[in-house]
Amino acid sequence: MSDNPYIPHSKEEIQEMLTELGVNSLDELYKDVPSRLDSKLDIPEASDEFSLRRKLKHLSEMNASLEDYAVFRGAGAYKHLIPAAVNSIASRGEFLTAYTPYQAEVSQGTLQMLFEFQTMITELTGMDIANSSMYDGASATAEAALMAARITKKEDVLVASSLHPEYIEVLKTYCFGADLNVIPVKYSAVSGNLDIEDLKEKISDNTATLILGYPNFFGIVEHLYKIKELLPKKTLLTTVVNPVALGLLEAPGKLGADIVVGEGQPLGNPMNLGGPGLGLFATREKYIRKTPGRLIGQTKDLDGKTGYAMILQTREQHIRREKATSNICSNHSFNALLASIYMSLMGKNGIKEIAIRCLKKSHYLYEKLLKIEGISPVFDGPFFHEFVLRINKDKSVEEINEKLLEEKILGPLPLKRFFPNMEDCALFCTTEAVTNDDITFLAGKLEEIL
């Protein structure tokens, strides 16, 4: 019958099965479908894996793979060095082709891995608990707002304008659904930090949470503890983190954060054009029953042996339905696995070392670029591995980037895309994946272009 390598049925078997069913044709199995709905597919004929690969490889080569590029662009997706072992173990079929660990006894691999992942995230964020993943940083941020509103029973969500613009957009979309108000808080044009005065103005009795990046979109590290002090007691502080930065920065949990969300992609996940990401979600223990997403807990089996299982499922949609803490069902467990293997390999020293390299390299680049005529600083707040510069020249950032691309350099992000008032500004990023030589080369090239 089929010459499809994934469908095992032979003609004879189909006949045997139909006979068992007492029907004469496959069509009879669809007799409950109104015949006027019958339809045909107008898509290409079946392919074979070799022609298919050739075609898709060709498509892939129409893209500029950044594998061999020096990447000076971050803004929410980061090129880091990923040890070969990460993908090599993660791609084992037992990880790749298992589903949500509904049957805990035959899912201990998944469950223990996620339990360890949760632990690592609490460690990085300094929070009490973490869930086993959300879709991405942006949707995790939006879910944090919803949780804060649920907890505080308030409707205003303050968000720093210096949060990643796409996260703000997603937040607005979710808040449109939940009928919450999204209120932007300015950033200081001088430091790039949150504008404290504006914050004070925006805070009200109805403030459920303040959401801000740590570091923020401009790479700037916010003074969380100072901000926390300004918030009303009931208002939750939500920080959106880059987990790699937490190798060096104080854990937000120690600085007053009530919810920590973030994008886990920098932890061992390839960029993949931005998806899948890995939504991180951590909070205080007291909010555990309000938390969205899957939680893995440690327990014992009948013989008293330690094991792991999904817990507090009564929070979730499959049990609580419309009263669930979120609608999330599938999450990004596989990305959590990549992150876990990455964190296990890099470990305590490695993550710190990466953070230090990111920081030092970016500051080195910053200093170097500022020496070039026509390049000037924009903010004076402390930054981690991203920073904004103004390029006051007759060439636009885009034009400059075009030239850089020819040299296999992905230059800084032109900011006017998100901040029309920052037309001549660009957001640079430096990770450990760019070499010192890359930095020198970029600086030289920019000097040449400008």
């Binding site: 019958m1 499809n4 469908i7 049925h9 099965m17 409950d32 339809s39 597919l41 079946a46 074979d48 298919l52 898709l56 498509l59 892939s60 500029a64 662009r73 173990i89 079929g93 990880f95 589903y99 049957q103 035959v106 691999g109 990085l124 608990i129 879709y135 942006a138 997603v170 449109f176 659904g177 060096l248 104080e250 600085l255 994008e263 390839p270 960029m271 993949n272 998806g275 555990i288 327990t299 009948l302 042996k305 507090l312 949609q317 499959h318 609580r320 419309e322 069902c329 599938s330 990004h332 596989f334 990305n335 293997i341 296990s344 305590k348 020293n349 993550i351 390299k361 500051h363 402390p382």
Partner: protein
Amino acid sequence: MTIFEKSRKDRVGYSLPDEKLPEIEIEEIIPKELIRSKELSLPECSETEVVRHYSNLSKKNFSVDTGFYPLGSCTMKYNPRINENIASLPGFTELHPYQPEETFKGALELMYDLKKLLCEITGMKTFTLQPAAGAHGELTGMLIIKKYFRSKGEKRNKVIIPDSAHGTNPASAKMAGFEVVEIKSNDSGIVDLEDFKKQIDEDVAGIMLTNPNTLGLFEKDICKITEIAHEKGALMYYDGANLNAIMGKVKPGDMGFDIIHLNLHKTFSTPHGMGGPGSGPVGVAEFLKDYLPVPIVDLDNKKGYYLKWNLNNSIGRVRSFFGNFNVLVKAYSYILMMGKEGLRLASEMAVLNANYLRKKLSTIIPTAFPGLCKHEVVFDGSVLVDDYNIKTIDLAKRLLDYNVHPPTIYFPLIVSEALMIEPPETESKENIDNYVSIIKEILDEARNDPEKLKKAPYTTPVRRLDEVTASRSPVVSYRQEIEG
């Protein structure tokens, strides 16, 4: 043993380029209070130990690659290796979402073409590829409905959902601010048309249906339902989780649905990855196309493939960037590989498998509803309680000892002691025969010794787990475990 217990001071599992770092004092850059005060206690392990740890963990998992996994509502079909191979090409994985559009024209073409294929398969006008999973797609769809009525100035606040629906449906409707109205299933397991007529009114913004529904039954009155709904001005939402039953046979668009989400990780064979990442594209009818999240991948005679940012009524973004691109590549690859005959055959064989299993198993456990099913079938496990003195969960746990995966259990909620079995088209007749014999064997066992089943499984990496205590006093991190 956890990876934390395997950690030893000063061990490393990584190597980094030996570079002289710029001489910069961190304290001069970052205020002291913002520098980490306590050492990170992440594990310290050699690569050897890490590889062993995760390799051994993986061996404790059941997976499609290791056995028959007929988990209902999840379409645990085999995930072809070629898709993984293709999706890992550096020209797909090493792309930055903000690199210039001209440098990822191949990715744009892929997404555009995938969108078009999904349109053809479902009969919808256009698709967004942004949503990360089914539930995310549902939320997207619900927000579109909300926005649609807002922009029409209508204040509809209710969404009708059958009692058999998946939990994400009501949860998603709720997240979009709707009130959920549950409608009954009738004696045949499909929407009770009378109840539906009673419930539907001008406050209803949308109706969420799964078809075939979660009982594996085709809503044969579907055309009637959409007609009534549309008469009342409500929109029809299609939960595409069960599309695997009908590819190349019927199109949701033809049934009259206005919005639909797909689960690429089910129907289109992208691996489940222990629960994700998936992908939940949302398709809409023509009149809703401006409501989709931005950006949309589009094709222009001059520009070629491009990202379109301005949609008049867009609900806005539902996530960062463009979607789970890596998953999209696999689904695209799958569709092209299968082709039109392949997809149709997949659906037919999935339905044949389910009916065959239904026929064989129903002699011992009755189905919840009689007659033909589509790609999955739900059994009423009351007989287990009544005749065998066990529960569905005991049968499920005992199946683990036989190295096959249990059905989805206790769902749909309207069937008592439910067993929901979905043997996808990638499974062979003998795998189904084998499954049925195992269940028979277990029930024989139950007759003689029901207590034995209540303590199953016996041969798994751990025995039955105490999930109740685990939820009562949760320990969700190793830190908590050691700090008590």
